[in-house]
């Protein structure tokens, strides 16, 4: 019923969540189902860049679904938020990876910053000076995920095939996309410039379904590779 490759993982996770008591795998928990739906939706939104002409109705419906999930996760506090101490190094990754999502839109806008270096596998932090936005928030900040959604819609009008291949040529960078988008999501409203876009808008305790778990990351990559 759910994404291929998900069942076994969900059962294992459900088992873990239940304290490993039951010998029989339990049905995937609501939280996991919701998470997999979110992952699926994000992949679909990205994939829509590859179509000859993206179907606007489909994209809008998927984006609305993602927003719904995000709202609910924000409300029940399962929305994991970037911890402040990680802000020093990690947000650069996220700047870069969100930029990948937004690249085709940016190119159309004629950014004068020059092309971004291609994300190499496993290369995590970028040198600050190569970041197109810099650390001073020169670029108008918007909620990370909202920005991705925005650019998806703008990109629907300004598609450049070249950037799309780069989106998918590298599995690890795709991981960045998902992870960045997911952890960057905060309430969806524009906040201050640059980095504060990724700052927590609502304090929420990290839940047990923390996405920093490597297993979950692999799982996200698995979905992308399969699709």
């Amino acid at each position: 019923m759910f994404a291929r490759g998900l069942k076994r993982k969900s059962a294992e996770d459900a088992e873990d969540a239940d304290g490993g008591g039951a010998g029989v795998p339990a049905a995937p928990s609501y939280t996991l189902q919701r998470q997999s739906l979110l992952d699926m939706s994000l992949v679909k939104l990205q994939l829509c860049h590859m179509l000859v002409e993206p179907n606007l109705c489909r994209s809008v419906l998927i984006a609305n679904t993602v927003r719904q999930i995000q709202e609910e996760m924000t409300q029940d506090g399962t929305w994991r938020v970037v911890a402040p101490q990680a802000a020093g190094r990690a947000p650069l990754d996220r700047l870069v990876s969100t930029e990948i999502l937004c690249r085709s839109g940016r190119e159309q806008e004629g950014e004068g910053d020059g092309p971004l270096p291609d994300p190499a596998p496993g290369q995590a932090p970028r040198r600050p000076q190569s970041s197109p936005w810099g650390l001073d928030g020169s670029r108008e900040g918007r909620g990370g995920f909202q920005k991705s959604l925005d650019h998806i819609f703008e990109t629907l009008e300004n598609k450049t095939p070249g950037s799309v291949e780069e989106l998918f040529s590298d599995v690890d960078s795709s991981y960045y996309d998902l992870d960045a988008v997911l952890t960057g999501m905060v309430g969806g409203t524009p906040s201050g410039p640059g980095l504060p876009a990724f700052a927590p808008a609502a304090a929420a305790p990290p839940s047990s379904t923390c996405r920093s778990d490597l297993g979950e990351l692999e799982h996200a990559v698995e979905i992308l590779v399969e699709t």
């Binding site: 002409e53 606007l56 809008v60 679904t65 999930i69 703008e154 598609k159 450049t160």
Partner: protein
């Protein structure tokens, strides 16, 4: 009685003309094929009323938008006939971006006896001409020609999903995801924008237009449906830009059925006025609804097309089937409605008797002049013989497009690249 035609490409639209004499299909390759009903003949009673190919032409070609680096598909999204006003037939056909008016006419005579040309068309040397004659028209084999009379281009940024001919027969509208334009048939270089729901910031976009249609009798009234399951009725007399609706149809959400897929399955894929003009019918993913124009807060009738899919929505979302756009049609007397489903099934609902039937359009199950057998989908538990279980349904075989003859019980059903025509057996 039934028959089928194999066509080269996936059929993307089916439409009878106003008399039912002609049936037009459009396909993914930009072609239009028109079928004509055979006249009744005493000699060949068994062939009475069969549809044969009348004309085939290439309506749209693929184009390339160089500004956006995007290909514009030649797929015909919709065909709409104009009422016949003289010997020729006129229809509108549209792809994602361009609407065209086609004239389909017959030629059964040709002029013979030119002075300056010989019978093969070669020019004659004037010096050899000693007498003059008047060319005469002589009968020839019937030839049906289709010529493009108007091309209505460059008016849509987004994909055209609907066209609708106005009852004044002078104007028509074309609707894309965010805008609706009004055209005069005679004027191709400009159109009038009557609905625009594009937000100033595309980031705020949450709703698109999914279908639109003019009222069958009131030339100032039209409806359009949205991806949020709402229908707006607009009156063009009220204001130039019909952004404010006259009526707003929406059914309150059922909280017990709420899921992350609620909005997607509420998205309306088709809206059709009844022939009477008193009702509108809408199709969303799982149901067909009939609305009374005088009651905006809920439909007067709701019919379940394939409710057994409700528990499969996640899979259908994953394989994109949840975004399939099914159409719906009224019969001539507005007493029966029909829509398609998966596994080449299509469904008919009798509004008066409240009975419904599921039929299948497939070569294996129908022979010419055989009677269609009702089908049944079994949801759970024991499957009876002849029933199909939900998990065996073939979701690649979807019937999105159907048409009903305006006055008789003849239906056309498009199953991927095959067209089926079913008729009531009349003895």
């Amino acid at each position: 009685m039934n028959e089928y035609r194999g066509l080269a490409d996936i059929i993307s639209t089916v439409e009878f003309n106003h008399t039912g004499e002609l049936l037009a299909t459009g396909d993914k390759g930009g072609r239009v094929v028109i079928f004509q009903r055979e006249q009744e003949s005493k000699n060949q009673v068994h062939r009475r009323g069969e549809y044969n190919v009348y004309s085939t032409f290439q309506s749209h070609e693929p184009e390339f938008d160089y500004l956006k680096s995007l290909e514009i598909e030649e797929k015909i999204n919709k065909i709409r006939w104009l009422p016949q006003q003289n010997a020729a037939y006129f229809l509108l056909s549209t792809n994602d971006k361009t609407v065209k008016l086609w004239k389909v006419s017959e030629r059964d005579k040709r002029p013979e006896g030119y002075n300056l040309k010989d019978e093969e068309g070669r020019l004659r040397d004037p010096a050899t001409i000693t007498t003059l004659r008047v060319p005469v028209l002589r009968p020839m084999d019937l030839m049906v020609e289709a010529t493009p009379r108007r091309v209505f281009a460059n008016a849509h940024t987004y994909h055209i999903n609907s066209i609708s001919v106005n009852s004044d027969y002078e104007t028509y509208m074309s609707a894309d995801d965010l805008r609706i334009n009004l055209w005069n048939f005679e004027i191709t270089n400009q159109s009038f924008n009557i609905v625009d729901i594009k937000p100033a910031n595309m980031e705020e976009l949450t709703e698109v237009i999914t279908a639109a249609e003019f009222h069958p009798h009131h030339c100032n009234t039209f409806v359009y449906s949205s991806s949020k399951g709402t229908i707006r009725l607009c009156d063009m007399r009220a204001s130039a830009l019909c952004d404010r609706h006259t009526k707003f149809f929406e059914e309150p959400e059922d909280p017990s059925n709420r899921s992350f897929f609620s909005e997607i399955i509420s998205s309306i894929s088709d809206v059709k006025f009844s022939h009477s003009g008193r009702y509108i019918m809408t199709r969303d993913y799982l149901t067909v609804k009939v609305w009374d124009l005088n009651m905006e807060n809920r439909p007067i009738e709701t019919y379940q097309v394939h409710d057994y899919l409700r528990s499969k929505l996640c899979s259908l979302y994953e394989n994109d089937c949840i975004f399939d756009k099914f159409e719906c049609v009224w019969n001539g007397s507005d007493s029966v409605i029909m829509t398609g489903s998966y596994n080449n099934f299509f469904r008919m609902f009798d509004r008066n008797t409240k009975r419904d039937v599921t039929l299948e359009a497939s070569r294996e199950n129908s022979k010419p002049r055989a009677i269609l057998k009702p089908r049944k989908v079994c949801v759970g538990g024991k499957r009876r013989k002849d029933e199909i279980s939900v998990d065996s349904l073939d979701f690649s075989k979807k019937i999105l497009h159907t048409a009903w003859h305006p006055s008789e019980n003849i239906i056309a059903v498009a199953a991927t690249n095959n067209l089926y025509i079913f008729q009531d057996k009349v003895n």
